[in-house]
Amino acid sequence: MTSDNIRPVAGGGKPPAIELRGISKSFGPVQANRDVTFRVMPGTIHGIVGENGAGKSTLMSILYGFYQADAGEILVDGKSVTIESSRAAIDLGIGMVHQHFMLVETMSVLDNVMLGSEGGALLEAGQQATRKELARLSNDYGLTVDPDELISDLSVGQQQRVEILKALVRGARILVLDEPTGVLTPQEADRLFEILAALKARGVTIILITHKLREILAATDSVSVMRRGEMVAHRTTSKTSAEELAELMVGRKVLLRVDKKPAEPKQTVLAVEGLTVTDSRGVERVKSASFQVRAGEIVGIAGVAGNGQSELLQALAGIQRISDGSFNVGGARTVGHDTPLDPHEARRLGIAHVPEDRHHMGLVTAFSAHENHILGHHDWPAFNRGLLLDREAAIADCTAEMERYDVRPPNPELTAAMFSGGNQQKIVLARELETQPKLLLVGQPTRGVDIGAIEFIHNTLVQMRDRGAAVLLVSVELDEIMSLSDRILVMSAGRIVGEMDAAGADPRRIGLMMADIPEDEVA
């Protein structure tokens, strides 16, 4: 084990805030953590990186008392402890901010923070005490949130602040944040890191779990890398680089930048005019969007999740009905409110769709890989023989595609749920790209996908472009948009608020457009 900060380092001779020794945990035959040892010095920010399934979440669940380790020891402030429940973790001063917020949307900030520590049958006393505590914390750390505001009225960044406050009110001195920036704009993320720095300055110890290497480099003091359940390296952040960390995570050299030639756009494949999508509650999710995508180019839509990109993509795929405006595909078919498109026809028109949410839309996780391979194509003659499905054809086709896309394990009989995120995504990609589409709609192609697979997926998309497909890419990862796109559209609150060439685009400016709010509110 290479390490340069595993030995006690200067810290006034204080013991580590958290120390794990030889933690192992297995679920049935799967070993999620193997002999994991690491320590976090008090008052530092420690990053943990690793691919999906590397065992980060399991490790943190052990630390927070959700799971019990099979072997190993946990020390808090140098003392050996057993953490049997999240209650025990809270009592030890460990707080957790989950990736998906655990907030009651219809209740106020105050009530959410108090939840679980009401301190009696009547709420009044608890509310008073919590209010006082909130005022103190916002004073100390600059964590300003109006305690009487409803959670549903807050922005995502503010909601996350409430989660942090919840942990602090419960006396957390050690704060674990699991993928905290996944839902934030770049500005909100910067603001989060300022808050973390302020917390650190007051002695709070922070463990930051993320897969974004840029954030590790920007925010942490030290970093540990996990691979396949093991801690493979510890580094001092100032002495490492993104390339080194990526290599440690994957176990081989990875190309972080997408290697592509300049685009050679040809005829317009998709022309969108004043497209408006209204959801079932009557809220306009996409407001009069107009743009074009040409053959041989990748157009990226940047935006914070939930600003209408999903609805736009679904409307173009024929899943959501449009309420106003129109779009034309390949100059042949114009889709409007009264001439709706269904996913079936969309496929016939040469539209392929890699949906944002592969678990809920792109795959039937209970089905085998070869059954997923014919999803949307199950009525094709190629997969049918008379009245019956041609199982052998589907399996043969699926096996060939699995080989070409390097899906592991290449077993078409395996249930989709048993594949890792990256391999699931490859199964979806293989199915959709195999049709040689004219228009490819791609949502979050690398969400929850490990670095090795990201490289492959990005290259595949560029290949599609070079073969003459028009590609519309939606991603909340600005880095991904920046590196893949030839042209960038920025979406905010359902509107397309900006369009620019990807070459020379300024991420900071895009970030501001994404937020689409005055700068003082961002700060």
Partner: protein
Amino acid sequence: MSQPVKLPRWIDIGVIPALNILAALLVSALVILAVGEDPVKALEVMLYGAFGYDEAIGYTLYYTTNFIFTGLAVAIAFHAGLFNIGGEGQAYIGGLGVGLLILALDGWLPWYGLLPLAILAAALFGGAWAAVPGWLQAYRGSHIVITTIMFNFIASALMVHLMVNVLIKPGQMSPESREFAESAWLPQGHEIFAALGIDISRSPLNFSFLIALVAALLVTLFIWRTRWGYAIRTVGRNETAAIYAGIDPKKTVFWTMALSGALAGMVGINEIMGVQHKLLLNFTAGYGFTGIAVSLMGRNHPVGIVLASLLFGALYQGGAELDFEFEQITRDMVVVIQGLIILFSGALAYMFNPMVARLVGRLAAAKG
């Protein structure tokens, strides 16, 4: 908290149901002990009553026939994520369809000419009775469980009205139609065997049993080997993915319910054309409801359903024998035993899963 461990298939469909039945039998044994009878002897009587002699086997298979139909009906709806509680009413109305058809044509066509038409009538009537709740679920959001239950009551009321006021044979008190011409009756089990040169006792077992087995085979092919079955399973597992794939969940729900009702309606072939040879009240006798337990126990797979149907057929037939043989064991006690089997293999079907999973995990770990 522990991760769910995926069990090998043979354990899931073999060992677990066996454990469930064993647990149900153990509790039943306690009940029989409590009323002062010998559980071992009771089991013997029950097994003998169900399988001990040819007439008993005939009865068991006759009940099995009904359970296969209603079990398949529940299963096919379940694959689309629908809980069809209305098998009872659909079977009832399906029987009505069969009865009306035969009353109209029995002088004209022999049984083999009538049979395809009767199957069509049973499917149309039963299917229509289920398609209405299906439509209400798909297009109006009325919950299928509620509507199918309600439709059982409507079916019951409708049948009483028709039998008492319309279809009753004039000049008699009991609400029954006239008997069908004998040429319209399905061949009985003993007749079929006699034609093969084998002599067995008379029982209600008839040609429908073969139809049930064919239905089980066709349902297997339909669900797992056709694009329509694929669509049904996709809707049942993941409606969003179905929409993405261009499958209309509403249409699928409607047609799946129609198909489910059609299968339940086949009970009418067995009961009306095969056994009763006339239209009458209450011939469904709870087969529709037991079909739910049969399907649950058979893991919604036709092979499992045929086996579970055989078990319930044996329970029905052997249970009747128990009632006969033991002073302390009444008809109600038999219902208790059936209830325990339903409880352990239906409602508590997965009770032993974690235990078995731990065991399997430990064995796998020990092996390597």
